[in-house]
Amino acid sequence: MIQYMIKRIVIGVLSLFVLVGITFFLTRAIPGSPFESSNVSGEVLEMMENEYGLNDPVIVQYGTYLLHVIQGDFGYSYENPSQSVTSIIAEFLPVTIMTGGLALLLAIVTGVSFGIWMVVSKQKIIQRALFSGTILGTGIPNFVLALVLIFVFGVKFHWLPVAGGSEWESYILPVCSLAIYPASVICRMTAHLYKEEMKKEYVVLAKAKGMQWERIVWKHVLRHIWLPLFNYLGSAAAFLLTGSFAIESIFTIPGLGSQFVHAISNRDYTLIMGLTIFMGTVVISIQVLVDLLGAWIDPKIRRSYEGQ
């Protein structure tokens, strides 16, 4: 198992290198980047030059940057030089984690339960309604959904607040608009997996043993459904993080996503670089974690790495 962990972590670390490399070299290629442009204030330029050794060869600069990044130092915001990127991340991260985490939780709970309901339900209407719902749920982009929700609940009926606030009501709409896409995907996946698993021979044997339906689902079938669903969580996390760009700026939530959009519109390159690398790191780490836990759940992988 330790060997599998090492292998997976090595891949994760390599991905990080690629991420940092691509970000660094692409940002350097941007016309009018802080490294080349002349319209940067002297103070900042000096700081940059000192920090990154702009007269060194590119590879050396990359190495220096990498060294800084490894130490968690992403430099200072180009727009607001008094603030380090790290401090910005530390300030805005908690809100993003909270909305993302809530959305993920909501997506899993509703997705799995609706998915099983969709298959188990004997009524054609419920099946069709749920299925059409998932098609629509994966069809509406999250930023469009956010606008529609604002329009319906905020503007027309004034039921819920539409812009950021600290009270819990203001999180309902953003969390919902983030969660609907992954919830639809999970719902469809669950329904499909459940149907496939119920056809398997081991279910027939479990029935032949005289087990009750509920026990078969709980003890046998759900185990098989969990594994692929668990693997999906990695991409769901990536989706939620990038989804937060639009959702947070639409609902004016002070999180990393809205900071990122802000940075883009101001062409604040150090902040863009820092946030890109940070978010990439988060997604890669989640994926590594999911893979490791998935391998732990699957006895075949676990046993093949356990001793002999």
């Binding site: 994760g12 606008l147 529609v148 993080l241 883009i264």
Partner: protein, 272 residues
């Protein structure tokens, strides 16, 4: 359960997609109104017989602008799916056929690239190469092919040891012949399904970026930028937002329907 609907779903998706694609192709060509010309006399007009979707605050016809945007969506979606598909098939096919060390190495490279969320690539690309369709497509092609490659590789590994491929080898047929004559036709189902799902993803990404202001730059219209543009007037002129939103959602839904329909067809085929 959904099998009875298999053809219906595919059919509906196809019809919807064809209508939208035709409109996107021909409306900007045939309409008397231009996409970019501003006209102060007809600002913020509600939908009427001359302007089916009304006009925006600069007096531009929204019907033309919406379908001009849809055209860009279509271009981005189909072109990126095609490039990703072709590259993915080659990469996956080569990896699966080589096996052993080459296969492991190639797949690790794919793992590394795919770990990074693709939206980050696209944003960086639009920042570097300018806000246009090409940089979006380029950005999408960095990691979009990986899923296709994985599917093709899986199919190649599954099929290359099947008896009909071995039999073809026995009769002196080469690897390329077997790949194109036996493996690819039998793997077409899953690959096609994957490619159909790449299109809505690309459409979504393009709209998302344009919405955030890093996609298609202003004088040109894109569904995403139209939605962003009309956001400020959501309360007073809701129609300005509704139409582009509707077209965007219909586009993505139609492709999803086609994908799901194909999936069900494939399932039926497998069961037979």
């Amino acid at each position: 359960m959904f099998l009875q609907k298999k053809n219906k779903m595919l059919k509906r998706g196809m019809i919807l997609f064809c209508i939208l694609a035709l409109l996107a192709l021909f409306v900007p060509l045939l309409s008397p109104w231009s996409c970019t010309d501003m006209n102060a006399d007809i600002r913020n007009m509600s939908p009427n017989l001359q302007h089916f979707f009304g006009t925006d605050k600069f007096g531009r016809d929204l019907f033309v602008r919406t379908f001009y945007g849809a055209r860009i969506s279509l271009l981005v979606g189909i072109l990126s799916a095609l490039i990703n598909g072709i590259f993915g098939i080659c990469y996956g096919g080569f990896s699966g056929y080589s096996g052993k060390v080459v296969d492991i190495l190639l797949m690790r490279v794919a793992d590394i690239i795919s770990s990074i969320p693709s939206l980050l690539y696209v944003i960086l690309f639009t920042l570097v190469f300018g806000a246009n369709e090409m940089s979006i497509i380029l950005g999408l092609c960095i990691s979009g092919w990986i899923e296709t490659a994985r599917i093709v590789r899986g199919e190649v590994i599954r099929l290359k040891n099947r008896e009909f491929c071995i039999a073809a080898g026995l009769f002196g047929k080469g690897k390329l012949y077997i790949f194109f004559q036996h493996i690819l036709p039998n793997a077409a189902g899953p690959v096609m399904i994957n490619l159909t799902f790449l299109v809505p993803q690309a459409i979504f990404t393009e709209a998302f970026l344009s919405f955030m202001g890093v996609g298609i730059s202003p004088p040109k219209a894109s569904l995403g930028s139209l939605i962003q543009f009309s956001r400020s007037q959501m309360q007073t002129y809701p129609y300005q937002m509704i139409f582009p939103t509707l077209i965007l959602v219909l586009f993505i839904v139609s492709m999803n329907l086609i994908g799901e329909g194909l999936k069900n067809m494939e399932k039926v085929r497998e069961e037979e």
